[in-house]
Symmetry: D2
């Protein structure tokens, strides 16, 4: 950590900061420049990290040198984390496509979708049973009945399922049915939910929040790993920016960046980022090219009659066509298409 004193900071102010750091048990190096004094703290212990040095008079800025996350970092674990779930291997070297509707609406819808997803080469079935909706007047999901329908589809087609957990009170039932538990973008900093899924033994699909930085996303993952669960897939799904042509702005750079910073698998959600069907294909391919380990795509048997996200949902035909292009391109990026064993 570095403490940069303001121009004109007094000796007494500098001494006061130094004393606080030394009381905290760390050594310091003081560099007095022509204009400013800079205090370097050696031994960046946790106790020091929490010091409120920015609150001291005469302090201009406090600069952290060590990353605030540990267990999710590449420095902590050099080998990429590989996640095995229901016969599918997710992580470095593979490209897995998770697909399905925004919401589970009926058994027929899910059976038809699961069949189409599997036929086209998708390896994980998605579907929301509990839906976070901006409007209280929108469909809020089928709940447990939706989970049961997902389980039936899994039984029939052998695809593991990913579904969202919104409420700690639903933890047991979601864990009972899901193969991968999704934490949605709006709960990306719901720290108690993160703590809870840190204690389960199922993989977690963690979406980046719309207003969260890459570092905050890694900190959210750190919450989960700290609880003991290292099976995390991070998902880039677009951030809030001034551009309004797309629902969100897919931060494609986040994919290689997180792969450089962390050992965790990273996928993208082109459907929620774009909010427009016509962009799902180019964004999925861009994700593949940027090094993503997979994508999660909204597919619906009849988007016009979907209960949500119709405009960005692909038909089965579109999805099959997309998968054809993904398969064609994967080898150029040394990616093997995921498979259900």
């Amino acid at each position: 950590m570095m403490v940069i004193m303001r121009e004109g900071a007094t000796d007494a102010q500098i001494e006061h900061v130094l004393k606080r750091i030394e009381d905290g048990g760390a050594d310091v190096h003081v560099s007095r420049g022509q204009y400013r004094t800079v205090i370097g703290i050696i031994g960046d212990k946790e106790a020091i990290a929490e010091l409120q040095l920015g609150a001291f008079d005469g302090v201009e800025e406090v600069i952290r040198i060590l990353k605030p996350y540990k267990f999710v970092s590449k420095e902590f674990r050099h080998e990429p984390t590989m996640i095995k779930v229901g016969g599918v291997t997710i992580g470095e070297g593979f490209f897995n496509v998770m697909a399905g509707p925004c919401s589970v609406e009926s058994a027929e819808q899910m059976m038809a979708t699961a069949k189409a997803v599997k036929a086209a080469g998708g390896t994980v079935l998605r579907g929301g049973a509990f839906k976070p909706r901006t409007s209280p007047y929108s469909f809020q999901g089928m709940g447990v009945e939706g989970l049961q329908i997902l389980a039936e589809a899994r039984k029939e087609f052998g695809l593991p399922i990913v579904t969202e957990l919104m409420d700690v009170r639903d933890l047991d039932v979601v864990v009972e049915y899901a193969d991968i538990v999704q934490i949605g973008a709006r709960n990306a900093q719901n720290f108690l939910l993160l703590k809870e899924v840190g204690m389960i033994d199922k993989p977690v699909l963690l979406k980046r929040g719309l207003g969260n930085t890459i570092e905050e996303t890694l900190m959210a993952a750190e919450y989960i790993v700290k609880g003991g669960n290292t099976q995390i897939i991070i998902c880039e799904r677009g951030i809030r920016t001034f551009e309004t042509y797309t629902r969100n702005t897919l931060d494609i750079s986040a994919i290689p960046l997180i792969k450089q910073l962390s050992h965790l698998p990273v996928i993208l959600d082109p459907s929620h980022a774009a909010g427009k069907r016509s962009l799902v294909e180019p964004l999925t391919l861009a994700g593949l090219a940027a090094g993503a380990d997979g994508a999660i795509v909204e597919v619906h048997p009849d988007p016009e009659n979907a209960m949500c996200d119709g405009p960005q949902s692909l038909t089965f035909e579109h999805f099959a066509s997309l998968m054809g292009k993904v398969k064609k391109a994967a080898p150029a990026f040394d990616k093997v298409m995921g498979q259900v064993s």
Copy 2:
């Protein structure tokens, strides 16, 4: 609602959209321009609102004409909502300052703070017992013990207390102790928490999420009102932008805008927006001038030794000075300083 068809949309595509709307029970008006056909939907019922018209071939854009929220709107209720809590009246015409530390740390700290807040003219005491922290390694709050300390301070000084609820499982205990239940920025779209506080009989302080629009904030409030609880105070606390000099960018325009759109009281949180002590005073005054009904300010007996948010916390002396300026300026904006009766 308006449906704008793409240039070159076919007659069959247009007919298909029309049929869907008419099946939904609404009337349409079709306007065929030289380049584009526009379909106006008359009778914007809820069933229609949920139609996935953007998913239809040939549709370029769907434009909503009615606002998506109802109960929180000024059209629904013209009279401003006034909230009475523990002898304090919050809303139009008054300026109430809520103050206290980021976290409850000890009885001594809270007693000293409550005394200073009251002496300076603050009317509500803030203090976090459950803390949402970006890092799992940061102090997470004292929990129920913190609530008990807050209650003692209230008993001694007569100030109602506002404290954050993060976990539905803590609902009963937080409601038992708090006078105003705070929903923090990171839970601004935690819809289940919003539903729960919609069913309590205590006022709710709802913070705008860092990545949420004004409309989404009003939708979050709508979740609460729909549950039956109309006692909501909306709090602007800064949004995420590219500017890095401040922790967040205080969206000062949100204050008059929400006051124009809704009957609910609006306050600002200058401390979290700025992240810098030196900005708290000018931002509080700006909020007052822009029409806010109050502010919530971080105050600590010893910011250098605070467990969180030290750099943006005011000392008692700073706070008293700020309150002096607020009191001096309030009459110019036809605001009466809030009081504890």
Copy 3:
């Protein structure tokens, strides 16, 4: 155009708006809903487009239905624009890589770079002679001497050159030397410069501004086409967002979006978007996969001693490696690598 009246707008207010539109020579359709009246304007002439209807009492919102640009739109010209310059064809079906240093620094530097760029398969040589720098204390470019060096490199290696025009007073000299005239991100809304390059007979590389929307970028292109110059290449180079790990956030969606909205070629600038060498390769490949017609990449013989943008510049070796991957991946996206004939 649609005018949405406020709830509670009076008949007089509605009549007043109607009269204004009719005086402007357009027909209207009035739709009186339960809550709001909506006025549709038929015959969206230019005169109407400039009416200040938002200034009328009782008007809530004015919604434009036609796109504000015309000549750059796909509706105006269905065939993709192909640009031929110095033996190179840029546009649909091809992937051209433009490469070179941030600034022209010396003849040796440019000769070495041109050789390496050509050897690796780059088809256009970039290099700044006039540099827009945030700081007045930074190197501002070699000026005309830089242009002369670029011309020598072109003569020697046969690569057409792209270089930035900042000042209308330099128009003649830049046009004299450049094969493609670049308008930089900071001049993306320098309308007079746009007008000037609208009158030259050289292709223009138009960068999106850091704070500009896709629509504004197309409007900037419209300024150029309106002047008579239809040879425009649009370049996505990242926008300003709250994410700070990257210099800017590459808006990858802009690439397929602009290709859907316009007939103009679109390329990306991964170097300025990322600001980090390690991201240049994945972003270039992502651009290719998303449908870009090329990329413009910073390459320097000795990035450690570059006069600007060292951290994001590739060495010759890195660049050759990147080009190898691009060539390997291009066929999967039905792209042919550009060539100098």
Copy 4:
């Protein structure tokens, strides 16, 4: 400057960086922590500032300690800059309101406006003769004729005039007529224009760019001061964010921040920030309360028939009412209303 080496950086990489710095003529202090080595550079000379240390292998991050601007900083000049123009004093302690239409449209319009502005207490007359417009199909201003009309209005009513310079080729004529030369938001990083107005002897009103940080805005001002012109007024006018209810997001914090960082006067433009008439008053008052030295407000005799910015323009009546509130509030913030002597 501090150079933070990557975890695992080799001794050779560290030595290589050290050598480069020492070759540049600066001293270093090396701090080897458990995980990372940090190199502090003592003697932060300009030559060092331009070193591309981020391009060196093993370097994780380069942190600047000194501010990149000098002449505009409070450290350079402690006394606030006061600008005297046409009998008006602008700067610390005063609140001056500049007002007038978006565009000069006719002599009648300007005469009527100047009269109303003066009567209400405005001290500077604004009006655009050269207009930067997003669309090439929009009105582009009256040009020199507009300047002549402004001059007539000045002659009649004694108000100094502020008008925008877009094109270096118009420098002489704009300087001839204007009392204050405005650099618009879209030219905030048009560095050559900044250099030119750095050499004139008229005050410059510098607007912050929509996508520019506070630091970049101060760097833009530094360009002007470096040329010799210290008479600069900085104007906050809103930045691009994800919020769409307002045209831009007024960054109110920028006002006290720039006043803390710089000796230059700061005003706000509530009209362009808001894009909505109903917000102009609360934002102007908020700016006053936050410490602004004035505001620039759009006023038009007939907003419904304005040639641009009608929706955000105030009528004379509105403006007089706003000025009444400003005058009432100013003393509470120790501000004296500006006057034309």
